[in-house]
């Protein structure tokens, strides 16, 4: 009886999670599909032809733009988060609680409020409608995640290995690259992955700061939803979700799948 109940719940979970993607897939491979038919009348590649053919340049540009923004954001987020995470995880010092509160706020307060406030300032500084401006506003929300992940990583890190390497004559750079980074590598990947995915799915802050000039994939997808071409919107949604799946597979394969739980 117990296993019957478990099977029912498992099936329900799998169906609920996968159904939205099945529906998106069907729409993206439908050439003609009229209400109230349950299946497309004519299957085909019209939407995909459009996405990678007719509008290919626009969509691939947006894809590259999204990738670049997310990659640069993730790199900066890890580079700045690493030293902070190390200090917070390894050492005891005053003001840790305050720092924890300061870092928690950007995780919880929505990007909308901050992006609207920053926009005017960014216009004055020439950062509005630029790549760097968008990266900076994404960094505001990605960096705290990164610091929290690396804080956790360094709480379980033993710096005695570094002392041993140093006593064997390793230089500071060598200690960083041959001891610290390899030992904390999985954690660093998690922090990077968090930041990448968080930046990848940002829409409104990109729109406000990018002013429509920095066209990432979600900005394009919103425009497509307005145009009402469902198969094309479905196809772009699928393209948009692929990196998320890859990240999940990657984390399950290399990081034991223990990592990804905190992503918003």
């Amino acid at each position: 009886m117990r296993s019957l109940k478990q099977n029912i719940i498992s099936t329900a979970v799998i169906t609920t999670v996968l159904l939205p993607f099945a529906v998106l897939m069907m729409w993206s491979f439908s050439n003609r599909w009229f209400y109230p038919e349950l299946w497309p009348r004519q299957w085909g590649f019209r939407a995909w032809d459009y996405v990678f053919g007719t509008a290919g340049f626009q969509i691939i540009t947006a894809l590259v733009q999204s990738m670049l923004v997310a990659l640069v954001t993730a790199l900066m987020s890890v580079a700045i988060g690493l030293p902070a995470g190390r200090a917070l995880g390894l050492y005891e010092f005053k003001g840790k609680d305050l720092i924890s509160v300061i870092l928690t706020l950007p995780v919880i307060v929505p990007p909308l409020c901050v992006a609207m406030g920053l926009h005017f300032w960014f216009i004055k500084m020439g950062l509005a409608s630029t790549f760097l401006g968008v990266v900076l506003v994404h960094l505001t929300f990605c960096l705290p995640y990164s610091v929290f992940v690396l804080w956790g990583v360094f709480s379980n890190y033993n710096p005695d290995y570094e002392a041993q390497a140093r006593s064997l004559g390793a230089s500071s750079w060598k200690v960083i690259f041959r001891v610290m980074l390899p030992l904390t590598f999985p954690g660093i990947m998690v922090a990077g992955l968090f930041s990448f995915l968080l930046s990848w799915s940002q829409y409104l802050s990109t729109l406000i700061i990018g002013g429509g000039r920095v066209t990432t994939l979600p900005v394009l997808l919103f425009a497509l939803m307005g145009s009402g071409d469902r198969p094309v919107a479905a196809a772009v949604s699928i393209v948009f979700v692929v990196p998320a799946f890859v990240a999940l597979l990657f984390s399950a394969r290399y990081l034991g799948g223990k990592s990804i739980a905190g992503i918003r």
């Binding site: 498992s10 390894l90 409020c113 920053l118 409104l204 939803m225 979700v241 999940l248 990804i260």
Partner: protein, 307 residues
């Protein structure tokens, strides 16, 4: 896994040792703090200043609360606020209920069903925008479920299908949030359940506690700190997020973040400070919610009702 836990509780790590000196530590933390305080704090402060910006008729250096007053006295604001509170609270409550149930099931079957576990994590990484688009395709009057209903003879045209997106009750918005947030809350609870083991439950059983009593007096107090933190994060997110209500919400009254952005991007530049003021109010509500819930938890702890 417990990233979120961390930031809402205090750190006590056995391994932490004496700092290598104030200067060295500050140097390590400074860049991150500078970015967060500068960009996040700066953004909020600059937003506040802009929302206090003088009216064109007044002197250039007189700050005014006029924009806030305009927003707060607008009947649309109250409607939006109530709708947003309702949608956030409902989706958080439904997601929490499902999560508690699923966590209790998954903790016993996790080893056997690795595939279930993997698939269960998928919504974590899926952008909110994608699930919102999928909900449109599923629940709109000509969507997948409407077609299913016709197929089974429940309705005969799309007009007979109940309005589930862009509707009064925010059904579509709530469903999208529940789909997205259940795995998050569940995994937060699971992390705790895996650590606690079954000893306490066995003690409960030997003391003849029924299943409900064991849940109420053992399991619930154990998971409540994580559950509370996760719910707070979900509530705050759904209170301030734009994508899902923009695609799935009705045009009147709007969800608060959509209303804020509409005013902010209005061609009438006078509406802009009001949009920013609404954004500040959203941030304010969320911060008050955090402080309030933390205070309540502290008070409850002192009385000993929660762990």
């Amino acid at each position: 896994m417990n990233t979120h836990n961390k930031n809402l509780s205090t750190h006590t790590d056995a391994r932490t040792r004496e700092s290598p000196g104030f200067a060295a530590t500050s140097l390590l933390v400074a860049p991150a703090l500078l970015v967060v305080v500068g960009l996040f704090g700066g953004g909020l402060v600059l937003g506040l200043i802009q929302s206090l910006a003088p009216l064109p008729t007044a002197g250039a250096d007189v700050l005014t609360v006029e924009h806030f007053a305009n927003v707060l006295s607008d009947p649309d604001f109250l409607h939006s606020l109530m709708l947003t509170l309702y949608v956030s609270a409902t989706s958080t409550a439904i997601a929490a209920a499902f999560s508690i149930f699923l966590a209790l099931v998954l903790v016993s079957i996790a080893k056997k069903y690795r595939l279930v576990h993997f698939i269960f994590q998928i919504p974590l990484t899926v952008p909110h925008l994608v699930i919102a688009v999928a909900v449109v395709f599923m629940l709109s009057p000509t969507g997948f479920f409407s077609r299913l209903a016709v197929k089974f003879g429940l309705i005969d045209s799309s007009a007979a299908f109940p309005l589930l997106i862009n509707d009064r009750w925010g059904v579509g918005i709530i469903l999208a949030y529940v789909w997205k947030e259940v795995p998050f809350i569940t995994l937060m609870i699971l992390a705790v359940l895996r650590h606690t083991g079954v000893e306490l439950l066995e003690v409960g059983r030997t003391l003849k506690a029924g299943p409900w009593q064991r849940f109420r007096y053992i399991t619930l107090p154990t998971i409540s700190p994580s559950l509370g933190a996760a719910c707070l994060i979900v509530f705050a997110y759904s209170f301030g997020a734009f994508e899902v209500p923009f695609l799935l919400g009705q045009s009147y009254p709007m969800m608060l973040p959509v209303w804020a952005y509409k005013n902010y991007s209005d061609v009438d530049l006078l509406a802009r400070p009001e949009g920013i003021a609404t954004g500040i109010i959203i941030a304010g509500v969320i911060i008050v919610a955090i402080v309030l819930s933390q205070t309540l938890i502290q008070a409850a702890r002192r009385r000993g009702t929660v762990l």
